[in-house]
């Protein structure tokens, strides 16, 4: 009996010893993923940058802006564009094009191209790649936002392999927005790109692998014309939920999370309490607004829309919901836009008595639907505040949650019955882009069912002015402003400045006006943190 017990105890001790020795010699998944939480120093080459993003790669909408963060980050790091737009102004900066000349009549643009550029497969970049890329940009399957601009190019002169001349049907004020956005792709592997198999660009990183629903890995392009990047590789880790990305950032599983990957609250928490670095995208703003269907009989009277504009508490929304990451406006322009006019933004501030006075002279307003997207949660809070604001002035609003696809579908079809909450972009580009490329502002057909000959003429005049900062262009933007402030088919709430969050271990994260990361100049202060 005693022998049995002794033998059993011996076995148990032996197993415990094996377990302890075994476990101590094994790698910890947590240790393998963690880096230092503080640190700075010189640029060190090497290492893997792990970037958290929401949603997977989607080749079918590869060249569309804002429809999936991962698409944009791959475009920005695997491909190059002809020019890049400066963050502080709309000045074009050289990229694959080293210089350019716009004809005095605005009907052609000659671009000189770099001679030392090769695609990742070793093929030389030439002017015909510019033509093929812009034609592929137009042809799809993707539906990119600058296609009206691309469609205005009537001829490509590519006789010189290092110079391309674009001819236009009319002066195109936002041509540099297109050249900043359309990546130079390899037409020979276009079918592979459409199928999500081949990503052959000229950019600082080469596409290495894609595990759907999990991760995309890029590796350094040692032959990059702009100099070999410091990072060995960049891994985009896909998350399906902002909370999950926040947790993984905090626990060291991620180094950076892109702006749509975290809520404003978590972003603020990470930077203010836990020492993470804030990356502010001033120059890549979006705008939150209340859309108005003017075909709804309750909203057809412009005075009702004015009462709504006076009722909305923009300050509260920007402070409480967006945690101060932005500022209230009446017009869509961010402060970085040449069309920004601070004085116009005082036209409508919350004034309950004024709104009530306007409504007092009108028939009672029946209950109105207010649609919002159920994704995330920010839209719901904004919708609830707007609902409360409108109740203060005597307008009853019924909230209608939609999943993102239904919300998009209603927007494009002009099927919101009354009001809706959404964010739009494109005011951060050349101002005329807003009226020709952003559907809510589209003069020909928009979600508000607002059609007006003056508005269409003002949008056209702005677009067809060759120099977007000329006095003629500024006058055209003022005409658009006047229509928006008078007609109020969109009631702007505020400009939202995007923020990304990074570990202190990460240095020099680049970005562009489409809220895409550029990692060509990024490095890690301690790249050997993991084996």
């Amino acid at each position: 009996m005693f022998r049995h017990q002794f033998a059993r105890t011996l076995w148990a001790l032996l197993l415990a010893l094996i377990a302890v020795v075994g476990l101590s010699s094994c790698r910890s998944a947590v240790d393998a993923q963690q880096g230092p939480v503080t640190g700075s120093g010189p640029v060190v080459r090497g290492g893997e940058l792990r970037v958290g993003v929401l949603g997977d790669l989607s080749p079918a909408k590869f060249l569309q802006i804002g429809t999936g963060g991962l698409n944009g980050h791959i475009v920005a790091n695997v491909y190059d564009t002809l020019i890049t737009l400066d963050h502080a102004s709309l000045t074009p900066r050289p990229s694959l094009a080293t210089g350019w000349t716009l004809a005095p009549d605005g009907l052609s643009l000659a671009l000189n191209l770099r001679r030392d550029v090769t695609f990742h497969d070793g093929r030389e970049f030439t002017s015909s790649d510019v033509q093929q890329s812009l034609l592929a940009y137009l042809a799809g399957p993707w539906k990119p936002q600058f296609k009206r601009t691309a469609a205005a190019i009537t001829r490509y002169d590519v006789t010189d392999p290092h110079r391309v001349v674009l001819s236009f049907a009319h002066p195109v004020g936002n041509i540099f927005d297109l050249l900043d956005s359309a990546p130079i792709i390899d037409a020979k592997t276009l079918d592979g790109l459409k199928a999500g198999r081949t990503f052959n660009g000229t950019g600082p990183f080469e596409f290495a692998s894609w595990t759907p629903n999990a991760r995309v890995t890029l590796v350094r392009n040692n032959n990059y014309w702009g100099g070999s990047p410091a990072l060995d590789k960049v891994t985009f880790v896909e998350g399906n939920d902002p909370k999950s990305l926040y947790t993984r950032l905090r626990t060291g599983q991620l180094d950076v999370v892109d702006p749509i990957g975290l809520t404003s609250h978590d972003q603020k928490l990470a930077t203010s309490r836990y020492g993470f670095r804030d990356i502010e995208f001033t120059g890549a703003e979006s705008e939150v607004y209340v859309g108005v269907n003017v075909a709804n009989s309750a909203l057809a009277d412009r005075r009702v829309r004015q009462a709504i504009a006076f009722a909305v508490d923009r300050e509260r929304i920007m402070t409480d919901v967006y945690q101060g990451a932005g500022y209230p406006v009446n017009l869509p322009w961010p402060k970085t836009s040449p069309a920004y006019d601070a004085s116009a933004n005082h036209t409508f501030t919350r004034d309950v008595s004024k709104a009530k006075a306007i409504l007092a002279g009108l028939p009672p307003v029946p209950p109105i639907d207010l649609d919002y997207s159920s994704q995330g949660g920010t839209s719901r809070i904004v919708a609830e505040i707007v609902q409360s604001n409108l109740k203060d002035v005597g307008i009853t609003v019924d909230l209608v949650p939609n999943d993102p696809t239904v919300h998009s579908s209603k927007l494009i079809g002009g099927e919101f019955s009354g009001l809706w909450i959404l964010e739009h972009a494109f005011a951060q580009f050349t101002p005329s882009t807003l009226a020709v490329s952003a559907y809510p502002f589209n003069a020909a057909k928009n979600a508000s069912n607002f059609v007006d000959a003056d508005y269409a003429a003002a949008a056209d005049a702005a677009w067809k002015t060759a120099d977007p900062s000329s006095p003629e262009a500024i006058a055209a933007y003022r005409r658009l402003d006047a229509v928006w402030l008078k007609e109020l088919f969109l009631v702007e709430i505020g400009v939202v400045v995007q923020h990304a969050t990074a570990s202190p271990n990460v240095r020099d994260v680049g970005w562009d006006r489409r809220v895409q990361f550029h990692f060509a100049g990024t490095s890690l202060t301690n790249p050997d943190r993991r084996s």
Binding site: C26, R27, A29, V30, A32, Q33, Q34, G55, D56, L57, S58, P59, A60, K61, Q64, I65, G66, T67, G140, P141, K143, Q145, K194, A195, G196, T211, P212, N213, A214, R215, T235, V237, E238, G239, N240, D241, S244, T247, R248, R250, T251, G252, Q253, D403, P404, T405, V406, S408, S409, L411, I412, G413, L422, H424, F426, S437, A438, Y439, N442, K445
Partner: protein, 319 residues
């Protein structure tokens, strides 16, 4: 038996056909279409029409159905609208991850169920039984998302002992110890209620066995309760518990959808969720049809086994 098979198999085929038609139709009744998900909010109605045309969604319902079912019958599941890759590859990747997660959860559930049940049966002290019953009740009652979030907070964020979510960076097979650490929290979350339920089934079966004459006699003649339980009662209690375990495994596969979402584990659950939100018709059709097919095949196999065992079943209707 052959006659029975001739009667039973066509029924299964008809069920699958009806299910495929239903799946195909129901997906198209969901508001919003794939064109809206693909085009984004800055598209125009013309863009939507162009995408519908490219995807073949402007053709008649039965033309679309015939094209889809024809390709499925040749095992060509088509291409995902959103991801663009082969649906066969996407599903096999997701299925592998889901099976790994549910297998780990099932192993944990069995270990937990056995441990709790044997502890409660071998040492039937009042306090231990009360404790185990309480633990059992809490484990079954706690929603999966609560357990998952608490575990992430404690083990991932507060103590930093285990990864807070995701999958091993170098794949599941690169380092099994790393994989085990990534699996620990989701498998525990998924397996906890299953283990508790299993413990209840097994405990009841063991208690029942201990009232049988052979067990009463053995204990009366001086055999230890532990020996009686481990050497005799357990063996007799297992068959009914295994039947219950089969049902629990089915529930594990269903529960994996939520756990995958909480822990960012890229299995079939996440794939289905993303497919539905993007209105990725071909992907969701294949995923739902796959689950219906598995269910129908299991039913068919069970019926055939029953018929083989029981002549009354296989001969019924043959006359």
């Amino acid at each position: 038996m052959t006659g029975y098979l001739f009667r039973r198999i066509p029924t299964a085929v008809i069920v699958l056909f009806a299910a495929s038609l239903l799946i195909f139709a129901v997906l198209r009744l969901i508001p919003g279409g794939p064109e809206a998900a693909l085009a984004g909010s800055d598209a125009t109605p013309e863009d939507l029409a162009a995408i519908r045309h490219d995807l073949g969604l402007d053709r008649g319902f039965f033309v679309q159905y015939a094209a889809w079912i024809g390709s499925v019958l040749t095992l060509d599941f088509g291409t995902s609208y959103q991801v663009g890759g082969s649906i066969g590859d996407l599903v096999s990747f997701g299925l592998t991850n889901t099976l790994v997660l549910t297998s780990a959860a099932a192993v944990f559930a069995v270990a937990l169920g056995l441990a709790l049940s044997l502890a409660a049966t071998i040492r039937p002290s009042t306090w231990l039984n009360t404790l185990l019953t309480g633990v059992n009740a809490v484990a079954i009652a706690l929603p999966t998302f609560v357990v998952g979030i608490v575990l992430i907070f404690l083990f991932g964020v507060r103590w930093r002992l285990l990864p807070a979510g995701g999958t091993p960076p170098n794949g599941l097979t690169d380092d099994l110890w790393i994989t085990a650490q990534y699996l620990a929290l989701p498998a525990f979350t998924l397996g906890l209620p299953a283990g508790a339920m299993l413990a209840r089934f097994l405990t009841e079966a063991l208690q029942s066995e201990l009232t049988q004459p052979y067990a009463v006699t053995a204990i009366a003649t001086g055999a230890s309760r532990r020996d009686v339980v481990l050497k005799h009662a357990l063996r007799n209690a297992l068959p009914s518990t295994i039947t219950a375990f089969g049902l629990i495994v089915g529930a594990l596969l269903g529960g994996a959808v939520l756990v995958e979402s909480i822990f960012g584990w890229p299995g079939l659950g996440l794939l289905t969720e993303e497919g539905i939100s993007a209105r990725d018709y071909p992907l969701v059709q294949v995923l739902v049809l796959l689950s219906v097919t598995v269910f129908v095949l299991i039913q068919l196999a069970a019926d055939i086994v029953h018929a083989w065992l029981d002549p009354r079943i296989r001969l019924a209707g043959a006359a």
